[in-house]
C-alpha cells in the first residue's frame, strides 16, 4: 500500500506533522528508531512523567504524544530507515524481525538534532560522554552518574541537565566554556519577543544556583586525563577529579539522510553547520521531500512542533486534501508560533558560539573516533590534496567506520577548510551512502527468501 505521507522521526516535529496530516484525512506512516514516541527532548516522557527530576520539562510533551497516539497514524516504533529512494517514494526499513519496504506520495524527514562533536584531548576515554547521553540515561532509566561528575561546555542544555542531575541527587560541577560576552550577543536582539524562553533559561540558572551546583566560568583548554578511563579534568588554571565527564557545545541538524539523497544544503554561519534549503513550509529541493524540526536548522522543540504542523498542512494541500483558503486559515497559528519560538535564537546562537578549538581541534586530538584518526593526520592529508570529507575517506578512512561520518564529518570538514585556508562553506559536506545504518546480510537474505514464497 502507498501512504499519503511517510514521516521519519517521532519527535516533536514528526508527531505534530502526523497529527495535522491525519486531521485532514491523509494516511500517515511514521517510522522511528526509538521504542516510544517523543524524540530526544521528550524521550521516554510517558515512562518518566512520574520522576520529579525530569517531570517539569517532560510535561509539555505528554499532550502531543497522546494526540499522536490517538491520531491513527501507522507508527512503526523501533524501526530504522536504511535507504530512501526519493524519486520512487520508496522507503527501505528494518526492525528486529527483518526488513520491509513502504511507499509514500510525500515524505517528511523529521530526524532532529545531534550534539555537536566536542573533540578535546582524552574524549575517547571511557567515562567521557555527551551531556545528552546523561540526560537520555536519566529519562529512559532514571540513572545518574555515580561519583565525581563534571559537565563541561555551554548552551541551554548544560543548565537544564545541571538542574535535572541536581534534582536527582547527583549535582555536577559545571565548567562553562562560553567565550562570547553577553554584550556581544545582545545586538542580535529578540530578547523582548523571546522573553518567555529567556525567562525559562534564567529560571533554570537560578535553580542551579539554589540547588548548590558549582560553576566555573570562562573555562579554556579542557583536557580529559586518565589511564583506562577518565580520572581527572584539567583546564587552563584548574583541575578536578572526574569519574564522569559530560561534554556539550550545542546541537546541529541531523542531516545524514537529507545529504545522502542529495538535497540542496546551505552553510549556516550563525549555527556553524549545514542545513537543508527549504521554503517556508519545509519543502526541499526535491519535490517529494520536506523537512521539519531541528533537522532543518536548530530552533528547539516549540519551533519544531510549529514547523511539523506546517509541513503536515503543506502535505494536505499538495495532496488536495486541503484547499488554498483552508490552508491559509490553518497555517496562521503555527506560523506565528514558529516566529515567536525562533525570536531568541539569534541571541542564543551568538552567545553560545562554539570556540574555534572545538570546531578544529589541536593536532594530537582524535577527530575520527571510529578509525582513530587525529586532527594532525587530517590536516596533513588536506595539505597533500584532500579537498573535502568525501576525498578524505580515501586518504584516512574517516567517515568509513561504523558511524559513517556522523561524528567526525563536521570536524574533518572544518580541519580541511582551515588547512586549505578557505571558508567552511567552500568544503562540500560528506555525502553519506546507504545503508544509513548497518544491517546484517541475514536480514536481507531473509527478505529475499520471503519474497520468493507464494502469498499465503
Amino acid at each position: 500500500m502507498t501512504h499519503d505521507l511517510a514521516i521519519i522521526g517521532a519527535g516533536p516535529a514528526g508527531m505534530a506533522a502526523a497529527v495535522e496530516a491525519r486531521a485532514h484525512g491523509l494516511s500517515v506512516l511514521v517510522v522511528d528508531e526509538n521504542a516510544a514516541p517523543g524524540g530526544q527532548v521528550f524521550r521516554a516522557a510517558e515512562a518518566a512523567a512520574g520522576d520529579p527530576a525530569v517531570a517539569p520539562e517532560l510535561a509539555p510533551g505528554l499532550q502531543l504524544i497522546a494526540a499522536f497516539r490517538a491520531s491513527g497514524a501507522d507508527h512503526r516504533a523501533a524501526t530504522t530507515l536504511w535507504h530512501l529512494d526519493p524519486d520512487d517514494g520508496l522507503l527501505s526499513l528494518s526492525d528486529a524481525n527483518g526488513v520491509a519496504e513502504a511507499r509514500a506520495r510525500r515524505i517528511l524527514l523529521a530526524t532532529g538534532a545531534l550534539e555537536r562533536p566536542v573533540p578535546i584531548p582524552g574524549w575517547t576515554l571511557p567515562g567521557v560522554m555527551t551531556a545528552g547521553a546523561a540526560q537520555i540515561l536519566l529519562k529512559s532509566a532514571g540513572a545518574v552518574p555515580a561519583g565525581a561528575t563534571v559537565l563541561a561546555g555551554q548552551g541551554p542544555l548544560v543548565w537544564l541537565l545541571a538542574v535535572q542531575l541536581a534534582r536527582a541527587g547527583a549535582p555536577p560541577l559545571v565548567l562553562e566554556t562560553r567565550s562570547t560576552a553577553i554584550s556581544v550577543a545582545l545586538p542580535r536582539g529578540g530578547l523582548w519577543a523571546g522573553r518567555r524562553l529567556l525567562a525559562k533559561g534564567l529560571a533554570l540558572m537560578a535553580e542551579a544556583r539554589r540547588r548548590g551546583v558549582r560553576v566555573v566560568r570562562g573555562v579554556r583548554g579542557l583536557r580529559a586525563e586518565g589511564g583506562s578511563r577518565v580520572e581527572r579534568i584539567v583546564w587552563y588554571g584548574g583541575s578536578a577529579p572526574c569519574d564522569t565527564l559530560l561534554l556539550h557545545e550545542g546541537v546541529i541538524p541531523q542531516t545524514h539522510v537529507s545529504r545522502a539523497i542529495g538535497l540542496d544544503h546551505a552553510w549556516d554561519a550563525a549555527q556553524a553547520c549545514w542545513r537543508p534549503v527549504l521554503d517556508g513550509f519545509g519543502a526541499s529541493s526535491h519535490d517529494r521531500i520536506a523537512i521539519a524540526g531541528d533537522g532543518a536548522g536548530i530552533g528547539g522543540w516549540e519551533a519544531a512542533v510549529a514547523s511539523g504542523r506546517l509541513a503536515g498542512l503543506d502535505a494536505a494541500r499538495r495532496l488536495d486534501a486541503l484547499d488554498r483558503a483552508g490552508f491559509a486559515a490553518r497555517a496562521a497559528a503555527p506560523l506565528a508560533a514558529r516566529h515567536a519560538a525562533l525570536a531568541l535564537r539569534p541571541f542564543l546562537d551568538a552567545l553560545y558560539a562554539p570556540p574555534a578549538s572545538v570546531l578544529a581541534p589541536p593536532d594530537d586530538v582524535i577527530a575520527c573516533r571510529c578509525e582513530e584518526v587525529t586532527a594532525g593526520a587530517i590536516r596533513a592529508a588536506a595539505r597533500l590534496g584532500a579537498t573535502g570529507p568525501n576525498q578524505m575517506k580515501a586518504y584516512l578512512r574517516c567517515g568509513m567506520g561504523p558511524c559513517q561520518g556522523r561524528m567526525c564529518a563536521p570536524t574533518v570538514a572544518a580541519l580541511i577548510a582551515e588547512a586549505r585556508g578557505v571558508p567552511p562553506e567552500a568544503v562540500a559536506p560528506l555525502r553519506p551512502r546507504a545503508p544509513y545504518k548497518p544491517l546484517t546480510v541475514g536480514l536481507l537474505a531473509g527478505s529475499a527468501e520471503s519474497g520468493q514464497q507464494p502469498a499465503q
Binding site: 528508531e33 526509538n34 521504542a35 516510544a36 530526544q40 521516554a44 515512562a47 518518566a48 512520574g50 520522576d51 520529579p52 527530576a53 523501533a78 545531534l114 550534539e115 575517547t124 571511557p126 567515562g127 567521557v128 560522554m129 555527551t130 545528552g132 547521553a133 537520555i136 540515561l137 529512559s140 532509566a141 532514571g142 540513572a143 545518574v144 552518574p145 555515580a146 561519583g147 536527582a168 541527587g169 583506562s228 578511563r229 569519574d243 564522569t244 541531523q254 573516533r369 571510529c370 578509525e371 582513530e372 567506520g401 561504523p402 558511524c403 556522523r406 561524528m407 545504518k437 548497518p438 546484517t440
Partner: protein, 98 residues
Amino acid sequence: MFRARPDARPATVEVLVEGVPVMVPQGASAAAAVLLAGLPAIRETPVTGSPRLPLCMMGVCFDCLAEIDGVPNRQACMVPVAPGMRIARQHGARVARP
C-alpha cells in the same frame, strides 16, 4: 559508572551483562545496563584495541557496539532490555564465524 534511582524508576528487568545478572528498569537500553553494571568498557576498538564506553546514547556515535544475544555489532543504546537478554563486550575487530 552510573547508579539507578529505584525510588524514581524501579528495576524490574533482569539481564545478563558479561554473564552477571543485573536488574534494570523497563525501557532502559542494553547500553544503560552496561553502565549500570559498571563494566570498564563495552568494547575495544578494532584499530588500537582501546577501551570505549557509550558516548551519545542516541544511535549516532556507534561507540556502544556490543554482542547482544549472540549477535555482534549491535548498537547497544538502541536495543531496549528484555528479560534474560545476554549483553557481552565486543573485543577488537569482528571475527568471522563458520
